[in-house]
Structures are given as C-alpha cells and as structure tokens.
C-alpha cells in the first residue's frame, strides 16, 4: 500500500471507529470522510459523486454490473473471451455469450456486432449488458472503449456498456474512458490502496439491481456497513495515482522495456506477447520458449524474485491462461508465459536484479539439469 493511504486509514481503525451511518458526532465525522472520499474518486473518474458506489472488491463491482443488469433489464450478458474471471464467470453464470478477440486480445468488433445482431430483434432475448475490459490484466492490452461503445449503441441500443477498469486505473486517464460507458469497476489494491475495497460507477443514477440487499447504504445500491478506513485510503491512493500517472507512465515504460530487452539480449526465444504500442506501461508479459513457467516461478521465488504466470485456481494451482488461449497463442508456448508487472515501487535496480536472476534460471531449465 502507499504510505499515504496507510496513514489515511489508521484513524478509522482506532479513534474514528464509528459507523458512518450513525447519527452521533463521531458517526458524522466518519460520514464526512466517506463523502470526501467519494468526491475524490469522482474527480479522478470524471463522474458525479452520486454516481460512485463503494463495494467490497473489484469482483463484487463486476458481478453487480453483470448480474444486476441481467436482473433489471432482462436479456443476455456479452463479453470478450479474455475478460477477468470476475466478469467472464458472471457472464457464463447467467448464460451469456463470449466474443472472439484478435491476436493482441482486443475484442473483434465485427464479431461483437454480429453477436449483438443475433441477440436482438423480434423473438430474441435481447442484450442486457456488454462488458469489455479497459486493460487486460494478464497481457496489458488496451481496448478502445469509444469504438466498443459505438458498436453497442448501434447494434444493441438498449444494452448497458460496462468496463472492468480494475487494471486501467494506474495507467489510463479514467476521465477519457468514463464518458463512453454506463458502468465502470475499480479495485483499490491495484493502485496502492487496501484489499477489500472496490468501486462501481453507475452513470446517470441506478442502472442495475443491487447485489447486496440490507441496510440500504450507498443509496440502496450496496448495503453493508461502510469500510470507512478502507474507502478513505482507496480514495487517497487513487488521487495520488492520478497525479503521478503521467510521469509514472514514462518512467515505467522505460523500465519495462529495459526488463524485456534485457531478457531478450541474454536469451533466445523470449517473446513479448503484446507489442508495447498496444499495452500499458507496467505490463511486461512474455512467453519463454522451452520452459514451463510453473518450474521457473519456483526458481525465481528461491532467488527472491516474485513473479506470476497466469491466474491461480482455488487449489493454488496455475491454470492454463484462458486469455492466451483466446488470443490464439499455442498451448505449449503459453506454458512458458510469465507476467512481470511493474508498479509505483519498482526501481531500475529491481529490473536489473530480475534480469540477472531470470537469465540463469531460464538457461538452467532449458539445459534440464539440477543444481
């Protein structure tokens, strides 16, 4: 977490522990903190504060958008096949449809249009919501949501447009995304805030049914006692991220290139999965020929370099990436995938150390000998 966010959170775990929905003086101060946090988030997202709903995580925001839209509007949910499971599994759960992507992981707009055409019209179920992520969490690909929204408005005018912007907040100016969508999801731990805080932006008032019913907090869009400290910390972290974004994008793109080129200059068969012009600065996703990332991750961990390959299932096992499969990456090449993510704490020394450790580890696995 960002130090400023930790500092901002602490008073609400101690002296200002009051429930912001209460009526006494401490409750009022907690309420003021939540209101101010909402203002901060709205300013960064580019929406009205009343459009900001605080949730328990990014997955809850995504689930609320998908399940809430299907419940309120009826019809089918649609998303590209490379969405995060928070969207993909929610869409599949409601019997929705997935759409093909190109080799970089961007939704195929022609396929999207024909899917929407297929679902709309007489005797058709209709489309409740189209959900397209702003930035892919595995490979970093950026999607032009203005184009997506144009296709949806033309081919399924009644459908809502949602974007899972969880991976976008650190890298893209959200004010340029928000105008194109009806709903937008964020998760605080992706920009230096605490885990367990999400945001769902519902533009123009309530657009979907709530997922959690109860005491009516968040103007009845998300019941449950506010996580005051978490919400405040999230808003502070988002504000800082927004301020630092222009310089961090330049700094981290250079470091990312240094990392990938450093690997490629040492080793053959290291392929950058998505060209840099199509992805965000912090994403260094590569596929390494001739190794299995599950084995590589063990050697890296032993050497103090923490990396990831794809997403883990409930047992903790690495699952073959559905994102790479949808992009048409060969399964054997996908087995050697490696997600090297950079963020606000990453330094040039970190990158050089990673290159120093990765080269020998990969060579050792390729040689097939123990120590």
């Amino acid at each position: 977490m960002r130090g400023e966010a930790i500092e901002a959170m602490l008073p609400f775990l101690d002296g200002l522990y009051a429930n912001p929905s209460g009526s006494h003086r401490f409750a009022r101060r907690a309420r003021q903190a939540v209101d101010e946090a909402r203002d901060r988030v709205a300013a960064v997202v580019g929406c009205h504060p009343n459009e900001v709903v605080f949730t328990g995580c990014g997955t809850e925001s995504d689930n609320t958008a998908i399940l809430g839209a299907v419940s309120r509007i009826g019809g089918v949910a649609v998303c590209p096949a490379v969405e995060h499971h928070a969207v993909l599994h929610a869409v599949e759960h409601t019997g929705g449809r997935t759409v093909a992507v190109d080799r970089f992981g961007r939704v195929d707009l022609d396929a999207l249009a024909s899917t929407l055409d297929d679902l709309t019209g007489d005797d058709r179920p209709g489309v409740a919501i189209v959900s397209v992520m702003a930035v892919n969490n595995e490979v970093g690909t950026v999607t032009d949501l203005a184009e997506v929204a144009r296709v949806v408005r033309r081919h399924a005018p009644a459908a809502l447009v949602h974007t899972d912007a969880v991976q976008a907040a650190s890298w893209l100016d959200l004010r340029e995304i928000t105008p194109h969508v009806d709903l937008l999801s964020l998760s605080a731990h992706k920009f230096g805030g605490p885990k367990g805080v999400g945001v769902l932006v519902e533009r123009g008032g309530p657009r979907v049914d709530p997922l959690i019913i109860g005491g009516g907090q968040e103007r009845e869009r998300r019941s449950g006692t506010h996580n005051t400290g978490g919400i405040v910390a999230a808003s502070i972290a988002l504000e800082l991220t927004d301020l630092e974004r222009p310089t961090e994008n330049v700094r981290l793109a250079e470091l990312r290139d240094r990392l990938v080129k450093g690997l490629q200059s040492n080793l053959d068969g290291v392929h950058e999965t998505v060209p840099v012009e199509h992805k965000v600065a912090g994403s260094g996703h590569v596929c390494v020929e001739g190794i299995e990332s599950e084995a590589l991750l063990f050697l890296l961990d032993e050497a103090g370099v923490c990396a990831s390959a794809a997403s883990a299932c409930a047992s903790g096992a690495m699952e073959p990436s559905h994102v790479l499969a949808a992009m048409g990456v060969d399964r054997s090449r996908a087995l050697g995938s490696l997600r090297l993510s950079l963020g606000h704490t990453t330094t040039a020394d970190d990158v050089d150390r990673a290159v120093d450790v990765l080269g020998p580890a990969i060579r050792r696995l390729r040689a097939g000998v123990g120590r």
């Binding site: 299995e292 599950e294 084995a295 063990f298 050697l299 299932c313 409930a314 047992s315 903790g316 096992a317 690495m318 699952e319 073959p320 696995l365 097939g368 000998v369 123990g370 120590r371």
Partner: protein, 345 residues
C-alpha cells in the same frame, strides 16, 4: 502431499531427519470428484500440514498430463474391454515421471511419497524395492514400475511403519490429518456416480448378449464396456443354479461369455509392457494381480525372441488360477521383494 496422513507424516519424518523439505501437491483433475486427492479441501489439508511443519508448499498443475496419460487411456481401454488400473498409470506417467522430472530440474535430490513400500540397497550398490511393513497397507504393487534410476531418487519414509504408527506420529503433534480416512477409490470417479456415470459421460455404451461357453444366449447387458472378466454380479441372469462368472468379454462382437468357476481357470497368462526393478528375471516367482491380491507361485517362461523385444512375457501358474482381467497390472515378487511387473494381455 495428497492431504492424507501418510504423506503428512512422510514430510514430518524427512524434516526430523534433517532434510530440506518442500511439500508439493499435484493438481491433476479438474472435474467433479468427491473422493480424490486433489480436491480443494485436500489441497487445503496438505498446505495446512506444511504450514504447521514450517515447510514451503507448492501446487503443480499436471492436469494435461493426467488427462493424456491416465484419464483418456482409461476411457479408451473400456471401449476395448480392458480394465486398467489408473492409479498405477498415474504413478508411472505422472508422479514418478512428470513430478519426479520437475523435482530433478529444480535441483531436488529426491521425491518422497507416503507410499507403504521400502527401498533398500544391496551390498553391490543396487536398489531394491520391498513390500511395506504393514501387510494390510502394503503399496509395493502400485509402485512396481520404479527402476534403478528412479529408485535412486525416491524415498518412502513411512514404508517401515504400520498405519497405526503413522497415525500416532501425526496425532502426537496434532496434525489435522491424523484421523483422516484412507482414500479408497479412483480420484476422478465420484462415489455417487461411480464408473458408470464417468464412462457414460464420455463413451456411448453398447449392449451385448450374455452367452454360456457353448454359445447359447442366456441374457443381455446394456453396456458391454462396464463388464469385467471375473465379474459375477450385474449380468441380469436369473438366480439359482451354479455360480456363473464372466470368462470373456468381446466388445467388438458384443458378446459376454459366462461360465463356471472352473471355466475361469487358466494355466497361465501373457504379460506385456514389462518393466524391471533391476535385471530381468526368469524362473520361479510369486505373482500378484491386484493391489491386495494373494501372491501365487508361478514360473516366468522364456518367451520367443520377438516377445522379449516387445516386453512381453508368458507366466505359467503352478496350479491353474482364475483368469486375470486384461489391463490389470501383474507384479512379480521374490518373497517380499518386487522384481518387476507389467500389464495382463
């Protein structure tokens, strides 16, 4: 570490012996299962035991290998009237192959499991594979495919213990797996649906007529793929009269032949895909044809040269024995020592 008590205690004993131990659970099966060793709750148990011991715990996903080398051959074999032992194929192709190779690659000296079997050495430095100390829990049959190279890098820390001793060691330090029941069944087959549901989802069942040894039709079964040599029940035959056993299954022709106990007796059997713990053996041996079956005296007959190059052997029983279902593993012993084994043709 399967999440069971044997592998938990194996890790404990290795740690006490001063080894640098890392726990690994293999994720093999993604489908429905309530009996398996890689369900989320079993992985949780393995991880919590590792945490209690203070060792690292990893989960390796070998699901593709398990599908290709265990599940698909299991399904395919049933369409040909063959009854394989998937746990043995998993040991052969995944646990002591894929996982062991991964361990070699990552610089580990050995793979240890919770199997009840023992590895010894001869005076001239060869490795031996022996039965586990607990006769009721002996698992030497299911690890018979280990060869010298693999035995050199394999450890069975609980092989010298009785199961009750294993549970006591676990209980002594309050391991959560101390009282966990033994796993019984094939991990990818649910206890509710059984083999019928599993195979029914994957292959079309074909009916077959049930005939006696003279060819006279006695009845019919709905799915020939579920019939195994030696089977007595579930054939839809009227009760009373002498007991009748399946003596032959012809899936292609759709014919199940039944006969008396005597009709099932065979003077010997043919064994393919033979592997040896050490040098190939001929002559008198004990032969065991199921995980806890009785070892019976028999002679390994020198096969034709063409048979030997294909790894096939002929076995002649000392006294005729019931026919072994094709696909079952056949393991050769000298007393308590495993010599090798193969698959019944």
């Amino acid at each position: 570490m399967s999440g069971g008590v044997d592998s938990s205690v194996a890790a404990l004993l290795l740690q006490r012996a001063g080894h640098d131990v890392v726990g690994v659970t293999m994720k093999l099966w993604g489908g429905d299962s309530d009996t398996g060793c890689c369900s989320v709750s079993d992985v949780d148990d393995a991880r919590r035991v590792a945490q209690q011991l203070g060792i690292d715990h990893l989960v390796f996903n070998f699901g593709d290998d398990f599908d290709a080398h265990v599940v698909e051959p299991y399904v395919d074999a049933h369409t040909r009237g063959i009854t394989p032992n998937p746990c043995i194929e998993c040991n052969r192709s995944v646990k002591f192959a894929r996982l062991a190779e991964r361990a070699d690659l990552l610089g580990f000296d050995a793979v240890a499991t919770g199997h009840h079997a023992n590895i010894g050495t001869t005076p001239d430095g060869r490795f031996t594979l022996e039965r586990g100390a607990d006769p009721a829990k002996d698992q030497s049959y299911v690890v018979h495919m280990l060869d010298q190279a693999r035995l050199a890098r394999t450890m069975f820390p609980v092989g010298g213990l009785h199961k009750s001793e294993v549970r006591e060691l676990a209980a002594d330090i309050d391991l959560r797996t101390a009282d966990k029941p033994d796993s019984q069944d094939v991990c990818f087959i649910t206890s509710t649906g059984g083999r019928t549901a599993f195979l029914g989802d994957r292959i079309p069942f074909r009916p077959a007529s049930v005939v006696d040894t003279s060819g006279e039709q006695l009845g019919a079964v709905e799915s020939v793929e579920l019939v195994t040599v030696g089977q007595r029940k579930g054939l839809g035959l009227p009760g009373g009269g002498p007991k009748r056993y399946v003596v032959d299954v012809d899936t292609a022709a759709g014919v199940v032949t039944v006969g008396s106990d005597d009709d099932l007796l065979r003077p010997g059997l043919s064994v393919g895909a033979v592997t040896w713990v050490d040098e190939p053996v001929e002559g008198d041996v004990l032969v065991q044809c199921s995980a806890h079956g009785e070892p019976r005296p028999a002679t390994i007959v020198t096969g034709r040269a063409s048979d030997r190059t294909s790894g096939d052997l002929a076995i002649r029983w000392q006294t005729p024995q019931r026919r072994i279902a094709p696909g079952q593993s056949v393991v050769f012993y000298d007393g308590t020592r495993v010599l090798g084994g193969g698959i019944c043709r």
